[in-house]
Amino acid sequence: MNNYSDTVGKIVESYMNRLKTRLRPVPARERDEFLREIRSHIYESYLQAAGDAESDDVTRILGVLGKLGEPAEVVADRLSEAMMNSGTRRKFPLHIVAGVLIALFGIPLGFGGVAVLAGVLVALTGIVLSFYATMAVVFLTGTLLLVLGMMRIYEPAVWDRLLAYGVIQMDGPVAALFDQLTPLGQGVLMIVLAGVFVVCGLAMLWLGKHLTRGLRFLFILVFDWIRKLATRIRHRIFPIERELLQFDSAPGF
């Protein structure tokens, strides 16, 4: 398939490996396709260079790879997209990455800043937890009302005994309303109410999905922001590194 010399082959493989590492977040099928394409490009470009110039093959392949760009540049565009697209599937690794980022870059932010951020995130998590607790209560109330309503219809006497023992207590207006109805009517009323509660609970469940999704988005946003800030600070602390990196981010796109 290829007619590279040993050295050239090694250089190409090393480049492809670096590219592959960079592309790890991209789904496997797309990644393989992408790598195949780049491999084909290197081959064509190398072949072309061989015809054009009379230089040794190592210089030629380095020229080819130089024109192609550093792996970081080649995938920069692709990567941010892949991260966004695969947010759901890669939730867990992303959070690990985020944790590592905080551990690494928390210090330039100042521990105070990290503490504030952590506090905000904990508070948000608290909101989600209380939301689900409320939902559980709504479901429980619905179930209880359903049981009581059924009981009132099929075993009216049990209701009276529970009232007598004080297990069920009712306020004036509610009791007055109940007294106007037959036991059957009371049962039906309670079952209808139970239905309303269950519908409310289901609605909350559905809303909760969006709530957690929104929260996850916030998490990712915050961590991304920390990362950017950290990079900027690092560049300010080590201007020399920036200078070396300019090859990477030169205006050559």
């Binding site: 780049i38 081959y43 192609l68 760009g69 300010r236 205006p251």
Partner: protein, 143 residues
């Protein structure tokens, strides 16, 4: 050495100016290069390397060749190009791209848009007035 590299030697403030310039150049190029890729594919079927050759043949633009591939992947994903692997008589197979009908339509629209934007930058009012007469509005669509 790229123009402007000198600023790296002056610490802090100047360096940010340089960084800002780079970002702007990249931002500006991003959409335009994509459009240029579509323009080349509008005329002819190409594989990655031949596409790069066409784009860089007159030597006016310095392009990191690898950056073409993410653009092609994106166009492919959005259904603006059709792609197929074709065996090559020498070396590995090549992935050929051609603009799909949807891509051709979009390309014409984007070209009109580009003309308007360029006229805005160049302050060339004639183009804009002509185009207003035909009922077109300068419109930057949200993606």
């Amino acid at each position: 050495m790229e123009p402007g590299t000198l600023y790296y030697r002056i610490p802090f403030i100047m360096r940010y100016t340089e960084e800002g310039r780079d970002n702007r150049v990249v931002q500006l190029r991003k959409g335009i290069i994509e459009l240029a890729v579509m323009a080349v594919l509008y005329r002819d079927r190409h594989y990655g390397y031949s596409l790069v050759r066409v784009l860089t043949e007159d030597g006016t633009i310095s392009l990191k060749e690898g950056t073409i591939y993410p653009i092609l992947a994106r166009l492919d994903r959005d259904g603006l190009v059709r792609s197929e692997w074709v065996e090559s008589d020498q070396g590995p197979p090549r992935k050929y791209y051609a603009l799909s009908p949807a891509g051709r339509r979009l390309f014409s629209e984007l070209t009109e848009e580009l003309d308007l934007l360029v006229s805005l930058v160049k302050n060339d009012w004639a183009v804009r007035e002509n185009s207003d007469a035909s009922g077109k509005k300068l419109l930057i669509r949200k993606r």
